[in-house]
């Protein structure tokens, strides 16, 4: 049951399609959530995650066991996301709030505030240029290390650090800006 990734991959390469189900089970959450945060939209995230797993399956023979399977899988996923983001440039896509974890501890008011806050963050992420968005999500949402991000994006440490620095600044500014706008609306509303 707890076979290692490489054992499962070897079984898949031997023609056992069902063995791939275990790999999907292990990594679907990380892949789906990365896709969701990159695209900001549940439907697209699901399509991209499916496509990513199909691509992973088809290129299993090219998997290099030196890297973690997760890193390799995320590389394929983020590349797909970037391709899709490039294609949809002109279109506007609705943003899902992605809020679904209810622990029952919050009052309805707190829950509303939390939901609003998450929506604001997702909107801010969506506004970032694609090449910055990817680094921010991988580091701060998926908690990956610099080395893993370097493996996924194929960029040098300097570029990864640089992009992450710029991305953090941009996110902070976008959020501060949207906060100010919200306050202005609130003041207008009160008047």
């Amino acid at each position: 049951m707890n076979a290692s990734d490489i054992e499962i991959i070897n079984r898949c390469l031997g023609g056992e399609v069902d063995a791939f189900g275990t790999l999907i089970e292990r990594y679907k959450r990380a892949i789906f959530n990365t896709a969701f945060r990159m695209m900001g939209n549940r439907e697209e995230a699901e399509d991209i995650s499916q496509e990513a797993f199909i691509r992973i399956y088809n290129s299993l023979s090219r998997y290099n066991p030196e890297y973690k399977f997760m890193t390799w899988a995320l590389k394929i996923t983020t590349n797909l996301c970037l391709d899709n983001l490039r294609k949809r440039k002109a279109e506007t896509v609705p943003i899902d709030d992605g809020f679904e974890l209810k622990d029952g501890k919050d009052t309805p008011e707190e829950e509303y505030i939390r939901k609003e806050n998450q929506l604001r963050v997702q909107k801010a992420i969506n506004q970032l240029p694609d090449k910055y968005k990817e680094f921010l999500i991988l580091f701060h949402h998926q908690n990956l290390s610099y080395q893993e991000i370097m493996d996924i994006t194929g960029e040098s440490l300097t570029i990864v650090k640089n992009r992450l620095y710029r991305a953090r600044q941009m996110l902070k500014e976008t959020l501060m800006h949207s906060e100010k706008e919200d306050d202005a609306y609130a003041v207008q509303g009160n008047k």
Partner: protein
């Protein structure tokens, strides 16, 4: 410590790669510098919000959908592969047949004289058939001539017979008439006496 150095420490802080001493230095600087403190707080708020975004549950049936797509693609690929194998097989067979014809069968036939024999047989058969046709034609025309002659003969005999019957009939009548006349003459003479 300068603000520029603090900026580096802020980044190290969010990289989770900062020592206790460095955190202390950062916080100390922030106490004195409201600009850096604001920068740090705003960044902390933004990144905590990002880090606290919930992990979503993957839609139900996700694995099944992926496995189904993989199986369908595999099936399509297998189908295409088997088609290609069939085509290659048929092509191979055709090439093999052509080679056999041009390098084995035709030279063998040419060298063994079968071709010459076949040619003669065909000529003989054609000549035979033509001969038969000619004979049939001649026999037919002869038969037709004979039939015509026979018809003429029969017609003549028939006419002769008819004429004989007519003459016999006329003769019989004349005989009867003369016999009646004699009888009348006889009765006339007897009455006179």
């Amino acid at each position: 410590m300068q603000c520029r150095e603090t900026n580096d420490l802020i980044m190290k802080y969010f990289d989770h790669d900062i020592s206790e001493l460095e955190i202390e230095m950062l916080l100390k600087h922030n106490e004195k510098c409201p600009g850096c403190a604001l920068e740090f707080d705003a960044m902390k708020e933004a990144l905590s919000a990002l880090e606290e975004l919930p992990l979503l549950e993957v839609p139900e049936g996700f694995e099944a959908k992926v496995l189904e797509s993989i199986r369908m693609r595999d099936a399509a690929v297998n189908h295409a592969q088997s088609l290609v194998f069939w085509l290659i097989g048929i092509l191979g067979l055709i090439i093999f047949a052509c080679n056999m014809m041009s390098f084995v069968i035709i030279p063998y036939i040419r060298d063994s004289g079968i071709l010459l024999i076949a040619q003669n047989v065909i000529i003989y058969a054609v000549t035979g058939v033509l001969e038969l046709l000619r004979e049939a034609l001649v026999t037919l025309s002869l038969s037709v001539g004979k039939l015509l002659i026979l018809r003429n003969v029969l017609l003549r005999d028939y006419m002769d017979a008819v004429m004989m019957v007519v003459f016999a009939f006329v003769g019989m009548n004349l005989l009867l008439i003369s016999k009646l006349k004699l009888q009348e003459d006889w009765e006339g003479l007897r009455n006179e006496f």
